[in-house]
């Protein structure tokens, strides 16, 4: 890097900076010509630059405020969704603020053309200077680890200065043709102020870099040169504005005091613009960081309450394989619901905000019943549910009967797995509870089984449904339960009855 650094340092001519690319102060955005005044004091401020460094942390600002293209898509850092480099100001190989280079990278044209365009625009009532200044303010610097464009060769640097010189020459010609006399008095001081602002803003870029470097290396205190440039910039701005005021204003006028105040405020605004911009950006960063942090904390809290607790329990009961299995199953089900369920994490926050409404659906109720049986009897119960609807009393009865059927299978079938399939179709809700267990002959059942079957069947019939038992010894059992579903108005989850449940926030 030392070679490049030297190139940067020696290559910068404050004169060229001022003439070609100095941002105009917002004081006079409608001035007919760009500030082109000579700047005898400038070389003193163009001295040593804080060394560029690659140890800065990543620029955290992903959003680029750009009048050309809103490039805020979250793709590869430094590039838009289309693979175009984002509009950032060049960090290295710049002549003044890195604006022209950044635009050239963004538009993928030669930086020469961008500079020519700026100079030509500058001749149009100073529009180019104004544009350059605004871009300098609003376009963030490139991230330190962004891929560097091709190095600025001495040739390129000479080109930039040449373009600036041509622009300056044209200005002088224009001035010589007679337009300059009346405007020179105005432009001289304002140009001076603009140069001052340029140095302050440039210093702000360097200060930001220095701040990064300090936080990285632990060194405190800005360099002396940067203080000098800062103070010099302030003096130029204030001085330029003062000269402008003295030259232009008739101080016998009543409003002169008011004008002085306004000019002072303008001067302060110009000097502090970089810090305002930075403040706004830092606030945005911090807000994003807080949101991420909150999200992370939520996930951590959930994992702690569920998975870590369960793992601790499993360790303590490692000898009891049945209990370990039960814990693992129960935890898996909970985590699944959290991740993929209707109110789950993956469903987005809108759904998670209304857990009460979700509790009311048929699918959720049946899944809950299956989970209960799974936990209580330590059997794997896997429900597959097609379609869903809001609950009513008939469906409540269906879920209760299904639960009985699952309990039956868990108690008597002597298998580890019970299949549950439910569907809502053509106005009928059906539940199939199936096991591949020992089975039985429905015609010859024990008194206890008979009672349960009656309870299931009786319950279904009271609600206009049916219960069918298919079983034979050795071939497992399937119980089919159906009830009619009210047509369309029940197709959506009904509004929550007890609204206080909806107000509970975690």
């Amino acid at each position: 890097m030392p070679v490049l650094r030297r190139a940067c340092r020696t290559g910068r001519s404050p004169l060229a900076d001022a003439a070609a690319q100095a941002p105009t102060a917002p004081v006079a955005p409608t001035q007919p010509r760009p500030p082109a005044g000579p700047s005898p004091t400038a070389p003193g401020f163009g001295g040593p630059v804080p060394a560029d460094t690659d140890s800065r942390p990543t620029n955290p600002i992903p959003v680029v405020a750009s009048p050309i293209e809103p490039a805020n898509t979250p793709t590869a850092p430094g590039f838009t969704a289309d693979g175009v480099p984002k509009l950032t100001r060049r960090r290295d190989y710049r002549v003044l603020g890195g604006v022209a280079g950044g635009i050239a990278d963004h538009l993928r044209v030669k930086v020469l053309w961008v500079r020519v365009a700026f100079v030509l625009l500058a001749l149009l009532s100073g529009a180019g200077v104004l544009a350059y200044g605004l871009l300098w303010i609003f376009v963030p610097q490139a991230a330190p680890d962004a891929p560097a464009a091709q190095p600025a060769s001495p040739v390129e640097r000479r080109q930039a200065l040449g373009i600036a010189a041509v622009g300056l020459a044209i200005l002088i010609v224009v001035a010589a043709l007679g337009l300059g006399d009346s405007l020179g008095v105005v432009l001289g001081p304002l140009g001076l102020a603009a140069i001052g602002a340029a140095f302050i803003w440039r210093e702000a870029d360097d200060a930001r870099r220095a701040r990064w470097r300090r936080s990285a290396a632990g060194i405190v205190g800005p360099s002396r040169a940067s203080w000098w440039r800062l103070i010099g910039g302030c003096v130029l701005v204030v001085g330029g504005l003062s000269v402008f005021a003295l030259g232009q204003v008739d101080f016998t006028a009543v409003q002169s005091a008011l004008l002085a105040v306004v000019l002072t405020l303008v001067g302060v605004a110009v000097i502090t613009i970089p810090w305002w911009v930075r403040l706004v950006r830092d606030l945005g960063d911090e807000r994003q960081g807080r949101i991420r942090e909150k999200e992370r904390a939520e996930i951590a809290a959930h994992l702690h309450d569920s998975v870590l607790q369960t793992l601790a329990l499993i360790q303590r009961q490692a000898g009891d394989s049945k209990e370990v299995q039960r814990l693992a199953r129960s935890q898996e089900r909970q985590l699944r619901t959290w991740l993929y369920g209707p109110a789950g994490y993956a469903a987005g926050h809108g759904a998670a905000d209304s857990p009460a409404a979700v509790d009311q659906t048929f699918a959720a109720s049946l899944a809950e019943a299956a989970g209960d049986v799974e936990d209580t009897y330590n059997k794997s119960v896997t429900p597959v549910i097609v379609g869903d609807t809001g609950m009513d009393q008939h469906l409540n009865a269906l879920v209760a009967a299904s639960r009985e059927a699952m309990v039956n299978a868990a108690k008597h079938a002597q298998v580890e797995e019970i299949s549950v399939y439910a569907e809502i179709e053509d106005g009928t809700a059906s539940v199939f509870v199936r096991d591949r267990g020992i089975g039985f002959d429905p015609a010859v059942v024990g008194s206890d089984r008979r009672g349960l079957a009656e309870s299931i069947r009786g319950r279904m019939e009271r609600h206009g449904g049916t219960a069918t038992v298919r079983s034979s010894p050795g071939n497992g059992t399937e119980i089919e339960l159906t009830v009619p579903v009210r047509p369309d108005e029940s197709e959506r989850p009904t509004p929550v009855m007890n609204s206080q449940q909806g107000d509970v926030t975690k």
Binding site: L339, Y340, A347, A351, V384, V386, E423, E425, F432, R434
Partner: protein
């Protein structure tokens, strides 16, 4: 069968790969032989291309695009390699996406070793393997709930009544043999119906999957 079905395991969890290999080896089943494994999408693409196994057990959720990315890069090039999705994911859109990308079946990771071995042999023979959960997802996808989806090609966009019946029995946990007995058809016919459902799931453009997946929560 003259030679065992060669199986390749793709999963980003080394522990799980080891578990699957151990379980399949422990069955002492000479129908299948695990020949390789990969822990990332890139590794999987390279090694499957060179090894050309018969069946790939594919994890749905992995960094860098998951099983979908592997299928997208390999399936067109190597149509003879059969993919069977094996995942803990319960998200319907993930599962359907992998099926549409070319996987010939989906089973959950809680499947027993014996069932997994059977599933591997079946997909390698050209069958589709529908776990009850996948059958439920597909039934949901072809239902008319969530607004009338346009039927542009009845051949692809609608399930026949028989296919629907077969799918429902699959969702209820029936084996092919039991489905055949229940519907009084041959096992071969059941296989044909299931393959047809798989083809429709892969080719039909009737529904937009993301929209369907979100509607499913509301209907």
């Amino acid at each position: 069968m003259s030679h065992p079905v060669t199986v390749f395991v793709v999963d980003d969890h080394a522990l799980f790969r080891t578990g699957v290999k151990a379980e399949l080896a422990g069955l002492d089943d000479d129908r299948i032989a695990v020949v390789g494994e990969a822990g990332s999408v890139g590794e999987a693409v390279v090694r499957i291309t060179s090894d050309q196994p018969d069946v790939v057990l594919l994890d749905v959720h992995m960094p860098d695009g998951g099983g979908r990315a592997v299928l997208d890069q390999i399936h067109a090039k190597l149509p003879d390699v059969v993919f069977l999705a094996l995942s803990v994911s319960d998200a319907a859109e993930d599962v359907i996406a992998v099926i549409r990308a070319g996987a010939r079946g989906y089973v959950t990771k809680t499947i027993s070793g014996r069932e997994l071995a059977d599933a591997i042999v079946r997909v390698s023979a050209g069958d589709a393997v529908f776990s009850p959960r996948l059958a439920g997802f597909v039934l949901d996808a072809f239902s008319d709930r969530g607004g009338p989806a346009p039927v542009t090609d009845p051949e692809l966009d609608l399930l026949s009544p028989r296919e629907r019946e077969v799918l429902k029995l699959l969702a209820r946990g029936y084996a092919y043999k039991e489905i055949a007995a229940q519907l009084f058809i041959s096992i071969k016919t059941v296989e044909t119906h299931v393959s047809s459902v798989l083809r429709k799931t892969q080719k039909s453009n009737r529904y937009e999957l993301s929209r369907w997946a979100s509607d499913r929560r509301l209907v």
